[in-house]
């Protein structure tokens, strides 16, 4: 895969009232990079990822693939999207094919789900389902991997292990990754470059390359983070009244909850910098 290019991507929604979510996104994603896409809740990260995945075709602007077509793609959706009537193992085999039984078992073990192969998704916790959906995406060995907040609803230690798993996978397989996250620290730990979506205008605000050596130590991450405060300019601030914040944050409680989690992260972050 040779990377791909977004040219002037726009996306409007007609419902409930006509509103523009993305207005002119220009971005070149180079082959083999691990690009993080950050931005506050409702800024259009998922919308952009769906356009890249080919799930949304009613956008303006151009999406250019060097070979003329989208490479093999895998995605971790913002919700796990497992098939409820298939066991976890069968969910993986659904996308990878019967022949991948052994690899699927290994992939599940890597996300710490050994022993849950024959459970149904409804019998697993939210975090376990999310890890299963990560295993499903990694198993298919895609050329392009799209991740929509893959580590939320995991405890800090587990999220850390999963991040290291992803970093190892990326280094080993040379896959191109677009990672959507609220968590700037996570972006700094993993990515080769961070792009930030602006809170209101639906444009790309900033682009920050991160040529740090790997594996990245906490101290190095903290240092880099301190220089990135400008990225979150204009994001809803912790001092905002909760009314205005939730009004911006959209209707679903799920969204609100990880929004508030992200908000407390930034609160802690700005304290540590001050």
């Amino acid at each position: 895969m040779k990377g791909f290019e977004l040219q002037g991507i726009t996306r409007d929604f007609a419902h409930p009232t006509p509103h523009a979510v993305l207005r002119g996104i220009d971005l070149t994603v180079t082959a083999g990079e691990l690009l993080s896409l950050v931005g506050p809740s409702g800024s259009g990260k998922t919308t952009l990822l769906r356009i890249i995945a080919g799930l949304d075709r009613v956008f303006g602007g151009k999406l250019i693939w060097p070979d003329g077509r989208r490479p093999t793609t895998a995605m971790v959706f913002q919700e796990p999207r497992l098939v409820p009537w298939l066991s976890i193992l069968d969910n993986l085999l659904l996308v990878a094919g019967e022949a991948s039984r052994d690899e699927a078992t290994v992939a599940l073990a890597e996300v710490e789900l050994a022993g849950s192969e024959h459970a149904f998704p409804g019998q697993l916790s939210g975090g376990m389902q999310r890890r299963a959906s990560l295993a499903r995406a990694l198993l298919t060995r895609p050329a392009l991997l799209l991740l929509d907040e893959p580590f939320i609803s995991l405890d800090a230690a587990c999220a850390g292990r999963m991040r290291r798993l992803l970093a190892t996978y990326w280094q080993k397989h040379g896959v191109t990754i677009v990672l959507v996250t609220h968590d700037l620290r996570e972006a700094v730990e993993l990515s080769t470059r961070i792009v930030a979506l602006s809170p209101q205008e639906g444009r790309l605000m900033k682009e920050v390359p991160l040529p740090l050596p790997r594996p990245r130590a906490d101290a190095a991450i903290d240092e880099a983070l301190a220089g990135l405060r400008a990225l979150t300019d204009g994001w809803p601030q912790p001092s905002d009244s909760s009314d205005s914040a939730s009004a911006r944050c959209g209707p679903t409680t799920a969204q609100t909850s990880h929004f508030s989690r992200a908000r407390s992260r930034f609160l802690a972050l700005s304290r540590s910098i001050a």
Binding site: T73, M75, F77, E79, R81, V83, P84, L94, V95
Partner: protein
């Protein structure tokens, strides 16, 4: 995940129902005793005797076979036709806008009217009889299947699209399991409807079958034979329901169990 489930009372019987069934027979005995008119209200014993007579010396087996054959053919046709129609209506807004109204009319068409029209237009033959039953049943299947098809989870289809899962596998593993419950519901609702209509079709224009026999007994005022035939038929339909449809439905629903 939510989806429309259609629950219908089971036509099959559980063992716990047997006492109440025996009570029904006792009540029947009592009424027959009080009326004291063996022609108008034959006792259970007289009905059993009639049953034995028709079984051994009469046409009970061949009549049941003829009727069941019609039920089987019409049932299969109606399920196939109705399911395809229901899926089309449920998946395409345009189709539903165009033909949804037709379905409402078809659902409300009296069975007798379709039967008479089929006989008038296509003659008093086997195909017209089967067609009439199929036309009567297919709209119900289509209506139930449409609800099932409407409830298909789009987010799962999107997932299979990103991962480029082969179409056939998506159909087998993702789409059919979602339609199966409404398919089973329409099979159950359809089976009881089909055999009732088949009897009417036979009564109006076939030279054999349970419906035909019942008309003959009606002419001779042979109530015991009418009851004997009906009970034999009810027993068979309940057996089909209990031994085939219910186990199948349990299999389909298995993944929902915690």
């Amino acid at each position: 995940m939510t989806r429309a489930t259609v629950t219908l009372p089971a036509a099959g019987l559980r063992w716990s129902r047997w006492p109440s069934l025996l009570a029904l027979v006792a009540l029947w005995y009592l009424i027959a005793l009080l009326m004291d008119d063996p022609v108008l209200v034959p006792s259970p014993a007289a009905t059993l005797a009639a049953f034995y007579h028709h079984l051994v010396e009469g046409d009970l087996i061949t009549s049941l076979a003829a009727t069941l054959a019609r039920v089987a053919i019409a049932f299969t046709l109606a399920m196939a036709l109705g399911s395809i129609l229901g899926i089309l209506l449920g998946r395409s807004q345009m189709m539903d806008d165009m033909f949804g109204g037709w379905l409402v009319i078809a659902l409300n068409m009296p069975a007798l009217v379709t039967i008479v029209l089929c006989y008038v237009w296509f003659g008093l033959n086997e195909s017209a009889a089967i067609l009439a039953v199929t036309i009567n049943k297919a709209p119900l299947v289509a209506a139930i299947t449409r609800e099932g098809a409407r409830a298909i989870d789009r987010s799962l289809l999107e997932m299979t699209r990103v991962f480029a899962v082969p179409r056939l596998r998506v159909l087998r593993r993702v789409i059919l399991p979602q339609i199966a419950p409404s398919f089973m519901a329409s099979a159950r609702a359809g089976l009881s409807l089909t055999w009732k209509i088949v009897l009417v079709v036979e009564l109006l224009g076939r030279p054999n079958g349970v419906g035909f026999e019942i008309r003959t007994f009606f002419n001779y005022f042979d109530i015991a034979s009418i009851l004997a035939y009906s009970l034999a038929f009810i027993a068979i339909v309940m057996a089909i329901e209990g031994c085939i449809l219910q186990p199948l439905e349990r299999r389909v629903e298995r993944w929902r169990q915690p």
